[in-house]
């Protein structure tokens, strides 16, 4: 059985794919078509791919409007052996990734990685942020030293530069 929300999502996804296909098609059609000996230019394959995407968008739309997508993934989490969408968990993982983006070039790789680790652990149900953060620092530090000292890959040292010395970038 398909829930009302599930039916709506299928329509949204189908329209989204179709829109992306049409947008790509318009962009592809504006590309030059001169192609030398082959007679086809840099626009040929883009037009074909964009048209293909638009066609599958229509196909998804037809399936969604005629009884729903075939062989669909169940809308009921328990049928998939899972629990209902847990928004805070999703938000914690997202927050960790955004915190890392924000801190990478200020606090440096190690601290950004530690915060990411703690946030993700929190998202997966851990309730001991201090312990998780400590593990994150140790893991981040190990990765940092391996990459910077052993592989010569530059990673930002950030606020830990006084401790880590001239390592990193």
């Amino acid at each position: 059985m398909r829930s009302a929300a599930g039916a709506r999502t299928e329509l949204v996804v189908a329209v989204g794919v179709l829109t992306l296909g049409l947008f790509a098609l318009v962009t592809a059609l504006s590309l030059p078509s001169s192609g030398g000996y082959s007679g086809i230019g840099p626009n040929a394959i883009p037009i074909a791919v964009a048209s293909g995407l638009a066609v599958v968008g229509v196909w998804l739309l037809i399936e969604a409007l005629t009884g729903g997508w075939r062989a669909r993934t169940s809308d009921h989490p328990e049928e998939r052996g899972e629990h209902a969408f847990h928004a805070p968990a999703f938000a914690w993982v997202t927050a960790g990734l955004f915190a890392q983006m924000a801190l990478m070039h200020t606090a440096g790789f190690v601290l950004a990685a530690a915060l990411l680790f703690a946030c993700v652990a929190r998202g997966f149900g851990s309730v001991r942020p201090v312990r998780d953060g400590t593990i994150g620092v140790v893991l981040g530090l190990a990765v940092f030293l391996f990459f910077v000292k052993f592989l010569n890959v530059g990673l930002p040292a950030g606020w830990l530069r006084p401790v880590l010395g001239g390592a990193g970038i």
Binding site: V13, V17, L20, G21, A24, A28, L31, P32, G35, G36, Y37, S38, G39, I40, G41, P42, I45, P46, V49, A50, G52, L53, V56, W59, L60, E63, A71, R72, T73, H83, A84, F85, H86, A89, F90, V93, L97, Q100, M101, M104, F109, A113, L116, F117, A118, V120, A121, R122, G123, F124, G125, S126, D132, I135, G136, L139, V143, N152, L155, P156
Partner: protein, 500 residues
């Protein structure tokens, strides 16, 4: 024949140097670990390590990546048997009997038949690869660009439309992957395509960001949202690992039959080990003298699928190395690793990079032996790895995932793109869109376009070239049949049924 033997022997000379032996060992150990860990697969692991190719020598790096690739097949069985959550579709068949055996206190023999079966199937398959590769190369050297293009189209359609539960959803992700592959500067004409003036897009979408975003970030978001509060039960590994005389008697024919099923399935561009593992399961059920045990922990039901899984994953290397056609997500990322070194897998690889490719093949023989040792006497270690709490596991995965994307250009922009692809991966997972066609489309798409334009350049713009070459024409006809026949069958079935 003697030429092949000579080439293989010189390959062993390369694979057995201390450095390459070490890379092989690192690869199979890492592979087993990521196979054991739920949520991490070989495609993701190799993708995260791709930025390292700048620092490593090609032979060592590719030996390590190949080790990760088939090491993961060994490790995956441990998780499936003890945890009953198959890490990938290829392990579902094993889960049917393996976890039942573990519940009955027979985890030891189940793990043993999986590991030894993987070794037997893997070793026979590497021999088959050694013998078959030079023959395929001979044939492939005669392929024209039109033939290559047709072969790639065939691979796209089988991977996207034939495998998986829904043709249209497979094609959707394939076209998204192809579209992402077009972003950037066109190599032939220098024309900017789909870059919208954004300088970061001129070089195109990096496979590391796409694959790591879809697999790691998407998987972490999905796992947190839908699975983080589910309690899992790990079966204890109690008692002996030893297989009884009866276990051996029932296992070895299954290993051999499964090798015969798995290897050919791997070599045709119909990638993925899902079909051969289920086929092997069905065959064992039919041939078994104890069909009543199936569903309650029949050892043949573990021995067969696990061997088929390994045989087919080795088979996948035949089209990858000899034709340059990847038929699974991991194979596509391995292809990207070759490309990072400016090497294009294909028939010419055996001539221009003979030392590298035969060293790689020889390393597979060595790797199978290493994996047997790693997965039998040391199995207790991997059971401990399996017990890593999920919060730390996913925290660690995301540290390495973001590290892989960040170290490409030392740029936070890549982390933003990574998150966007993570959201895409989350949505694809939730609504049942397969990930592999997107990755294969991104990597193989640009190669297909090059062959297409080359073919038309040679024919001076005459499109009939795709239908006058017998190889190209038959491949394209076969491709069309794969899409059209299921439709006709469905329509005719609807007609014969009375409309109520």
């Amino acid at each position: 024949m003697t030429e092949t033997l000579d080439a293989l022997l010189s390959g062993f000379a390369i694979a057995l140097t201390p450095t390459n032996l070490l890379w092989g060992f690192v690869g199979v150990t890492l592979g087993t670990a990521v196979g054991v860990l739920p949520g991490v697969g070989p495609a993701l692991t190799v993708a995260m390590l791709l930025p390292l190719t700048v620092k490593l020598d090609p032979t060592g790096a590719l030996i390590m990546f190949a080790g990760i690739y088939y090491g993961a097949m060994y490790g995956g069985s441990t998780t499936t048997i003890l945890l009953n959550t198959p890490g990938e579709s290829a392990s579902i068949a094993t889960a049917l009997e393996g976890n039942k055996m573990a519940k009955r206190g027979r985890a030891g023999p189940a793990l043993a038949t999986a590991a030894i079966g993987s070794f037997v199937a893997g070793s026979i398959s590497v021999v088959l690869l050694t013998l078959l590769a030079p023959i395929v190369v001979e044939v492939a050297l005669r392929f024209s660009p039109a033939d290559y293009f047709a072969l790639m189209v065939f691979a796209f359609v089988t991977v996207a439309a034939v495998l998986g539960s829904s043709t249209v959803r497979g094609l959707t992700t394939l076209f998204i992957g192809l579209l992402l592959g077009l972003v950037g500067i066109d190599e032939t004409t220098g024309q900017m395509r789909f870059a919208f003036g954004v300088p970061e897009l001129l070089d195109g979408i990096d496979v590391v960001v796409l694959a790591v975003g879809l697999f790691a970030v998407g998987e972490a978001l999905y796992g947190a949202a839908y699975q983080s509060r589910v309690k899992e039960k790990i079966e204890r590994l109690s008692g002996s690992l030893m297989m009884t005389r009866d276990d051996w008697r029932r296992s070895w024919p299954a290993w051999l039959r499964a090798t015969g099923i798995g290897f050919p399935f791997g070599t045709i561009p119909a990638g993925g080990a899902e079909i051969p593992t289920f086929l092997s399961y069905a065959v064992e059920k039919k041939f078994s003298k104890h069909p009543e045990e199936f569903g309650h922990g029949a050892i043949e039901g573990v021995a067969g699928p696990e061997a088929a899984n390994n045989a087919s994953s080795t088979g996948v290397l035949v089209p990858l190395l000899t034709l340059g056609i990847p038929t699974s997500a991991t194979a596509a990322i391995l292809l990207a690793a070759f490309q990072n070194y400016g090497i294009q897998p294909g028939p010419l690889l055996f001539q221009t990079q003979g030392a590298l490719v035969w060293g790689l093949i020889a390393s597979l023989y060595i790797g199978n032996v290493l994996l047997l040792i790693l997965n039998l006497p040391l199995i207790g270690l991997w059971v401990k790895v399996l017990a890593i709490p999920k919060p730390w596991l996913y925290g660690g995965i995301l540290i390495f995932a973001t590290l892989g994307a960040y170290s490409l250009h030392q740029s936070v922009i890549d982390l933003v793109t990574l998150y966007v692809f993570g959201l895409l991966g989350f949505a694809m997972r939730r609504w049942g869109f397969p990930v592999a066609p997107a990755v294969i489309g991104l990597i193989l798409g640009p190669l297909a376009e090059t062959q297409f334009r080359r073919a038309l350049s040679i024919s001076q713009g005459d499109p009939s070239v795709f239908f006058t070459s017998p190889i190209s024409a038959s491949l394209l006809a076969l491709t069309a049949a794969l899409i059209v026949v299921p439709w006709i069958v469905r329509l005719s079935r609807r007609k014969t049924q009375p409309t109520a």
